[in-house]
């Protein structure tokens, strides 16, 4: 048992899912999803398009009803419970807003629809970003609209902030500004954040927790530091032997050239790795790509009905 797992028992959980599943027709958009997100973390939810990220977020905010398992936010079911909704700030994909409303209208709307509402916070944020208060938000730039949506989510003073691909449609400058604004805001408040992206690079610097989704399943979940410590890249002479090297729990991904083999492995904490292999630290990007590629291969094999 790792230190992280022990911590999870004493630490408050912002989000917890158990065998969670959601089906559209016969296809599972999310399946057997069990994960814990401790409070206070900034978590990246990473996976390619269609991996189930949006489905997971919608389940967490009570927009969707699970077809299997359960989801808990601060220990409670978010479905049809407005007291849980009050704890969650949610920014949906493409940051939907009433396009004919001005930013002032939207802030006023938030005040009408929430018991806890920090209108000055939203106003100050938008003022400091230079967003015009009296122009319909449909006429603002994509970056400005995203900032308005973020300000609305933050004005709820949420304990859990869920963001679904908030920066996917923004240009690089607006992306950086958005991430800066987000990180500045949550650093002050200690809010737990879960934000999804199909691009890890956008989130790598900001996040300390990682959830990798692929083909409707959780492939990897944990604190970034723990994950980096648990994995190694091993380089050694070519060996297509399917057995795992000594000191290794599992091989996540193996690549072979004519001369050498490169393995991304999960190491055994208490054992020394076979010195025939040269050990390297992994980067977060290597790790995510290895898990995604492996899951992809498995899915393709299943689709072609070929066993590994």
């Amino acid at each position: 048992m790792t230190t992280n797992d022990q911590g999870a028992h004493t630490m408050e959980l912002a989000l917890e899912t158990g065998a969670l599943g959601k089906r559209y027709g016969r296809a599972w958009a999310l399946r057997d999803c069990s994960l814990h997100l401790p409070a206070g973390r900034v978590a990246a939810l990473v996976g390619p398009n269609g991996a189930g990220k949006t489905t997971l977020l919608h389940l967490a905010v009570g927009l969707l009803r699970p077809d299997a398992g359960q989801v808990r936010v601060f220990g409670r079911d978010p479905r049809d419970d407005t007291s849980v909704l009050a704890e969650i700030g949610f920014v949906a994909q493409d940051t939907p807003l009433y396009r004919d409303f001005t930013a002032v209208d939207l802030i006023r709307m938030g005040g009408k629809l929430n018991r806890r509402w920090d209108a000055p916070l939203a106003r100050d944020r938008l003022a400091s970003l230079g967003i015009p208060p009296d122009r319909p938000v449909g006429r603002l730039s994509g970056g400005q609209r995203a900032q308005v949506a973020l300000a609305l989510a933050l004005a709820k003073r949420p304990r859990l902030l869920l963001l679904d691909e908030p920066i996917a449609s923004l240009d690089p400058l607006a992306r950086r500004e958005f991430m800066q604004a987000l990180m500045g805001a949550v650093a002050e408040s200690g809010t737990t954040v879960l934000l999804s992206s199909h691009l890890l690079a956008d989130l790598e610097r900001a996040c300390d927790y990682l959830i990798v989704l692929q083909t409707a399943r959780v492939q990897l979940v944990g604190a970034v530091d723990d994950l980096l410590a648990q994995h190694r890249t091993l380089v050694g002479p070519r060996s297509t032997d399917t057995g795992t090297p000594r000191g290794v729990v599992s091989v996540v991904r193996a690549r072979h050239t004519d001369r050498q083999s490169t393995l991304l492995v999960r190491r055994d904490d208490d054992a020394v790795i076979d010195p025939a292999w040269i050990e390297h630290d992994v980067t977060l990007e290597d790790l995510v790509l290895a898990y995604l590629a492996e899951a992809d291969t498995r899915a393709t094999r299943t689709a072609w009905e070929v066993t590994a």
Binding site: L63, T82, P96, L113
Partner: protein, 321 residues
């Protein structure tokens, strides 16, 4: 929620007011002119003189009154077409008030904004449906009262308010139609989730239900009455009762229909030449006095459908994400 509903729909409210003003600008002057003409020509007085007896003596006055009626109808026959516009007005309310209510939110993704604040989906739905429904009722009552007034003289001068076009735009039935149209629009919006397909579906659905009820159900609300009278009789059916006549004809002594759509007489005492003895005039009809019973049944049907559709729409909302 109330503020949000107002903020979202204030443009629609403005357009509705403009449309109402335009309709009123057409209806008030033509209605006044029609009422004026109705009184001045003596038609109102002579129709009142005919009373509400089922059968009346065929008199000079009665013939004169019928001539006045025809004249009046001829003069305003163009306006009768305006009544067709009134028949389709409720469906417009359904299309423009009902269909976008859920469909536009889902189409633009804003349901994910509004349903993730601290207000339950059910409360959101009940507030919105309630407010839009309330405004619809007010509009529909205004419409029904206005059209009943406007159309009154023409209807009384012609076949009466039980007839197809006139029944549909008077009394309380238009309130039922309008609420039904809105509920159908809302429900279609929860199925198609895009404004234009929802509008199209609501339009088709509304036309189908209205036509079905009108042609198949309405004639059967109450069993029709039969009226028979001898060709020799000087008493004829009173044109002022506003009866809804399903059919009329001449039957022979054995009861077989020998002439459809015709009536004979009154003939002088020796009898009508060429007509077998014992023949009589026959008419199958709903009495005009049953107008409010029919209105109540028709409105009840559409209100029940409205409640059903709203309940289904709220059920469907739970599965939208």
């Amino acid at each position: 929620m109330i503020w949000l509903t107002w903020r979202q729909h204030r443009k629609q409210a403005l357009f509705t007011l403009i449309a109402l003003a335009v309709v009123a600008a057409v209806m008030v002057p033509t209605g006044l002119a029609m009422h004026h003409r109705y009184e001045r020509s003596g038609l109102a007085a002579c129709l009142a003189d005919l009373g509400d007896a089922q059968m009346i003596r065929q008199s000079e006055a009665a013939v004169h009154c019928q001539a006045l009626s025809h004249q009046f109808q001829q003069q305003y026959s163009d306006l009768a077409f305006v009544a067709i516009l009134f028949v389709i007005l409720p469906v417009f309310v359904g299309l423009f008030f009902g269909a976008p209510l859920v469909a536009r939110e889902v189409e633009q993704g804003t349901h994910r904004l509004v349903w993730t604040q601290s207000v339950s989906r059910r409360r959101w739905a009940l507030t919105k449906f309630g407010l839009v429904g309330g405004v619809t009722v007010v509009l529909a009552v205004l419409y029904a009262v206005g059209v009943s007034w406007w159309f009154g003289p023409l209807v009384t001068a012609s076949s009466g308010r039980m007839g197809y076009l006139s029944f549909d735009v008077q009394g309380v039935a238009p309130v039922g139609y309008t609420l039904f149209a809105v509920a159908l629009g809302v429900f279609a919006g929860t199925l198609w989730r895009k404004v234009l397909p929802a509008m199209g579906a609501a339009l088709v659905g509304f036309a189908a239900v209205r036509l079905t009820v009108e042609t198949l159900a309405r004639p059967r609300y109450m069993s029709p009455k039969t009226l028979t009278f001898s060709p020799q009789s000087v008493l004829r059916p009173n044109p002022a009762t506003g009866d809804w006549v399903y059919g009329q004809g001449v039957r022979d002594a054995a009861g077989h229909l020998v002439a459809s759509g015709a009536q004979i007489g009154p003939c002088a005492p020796p009898g009508c030449g060429g007509v077998a003895a014992g023949s009589y005039n026959w008419q199958l009809y709903q009495p005009g006095s049953r107008f409010w019973e029919f209105q109540a049944i028709e409105t009840g049907i559409f209100l029940a459908l409205t409640v059903l559709l709203v309940a289904l729409a709220i059920r469907r909302l739970r599965d939208i994400a």
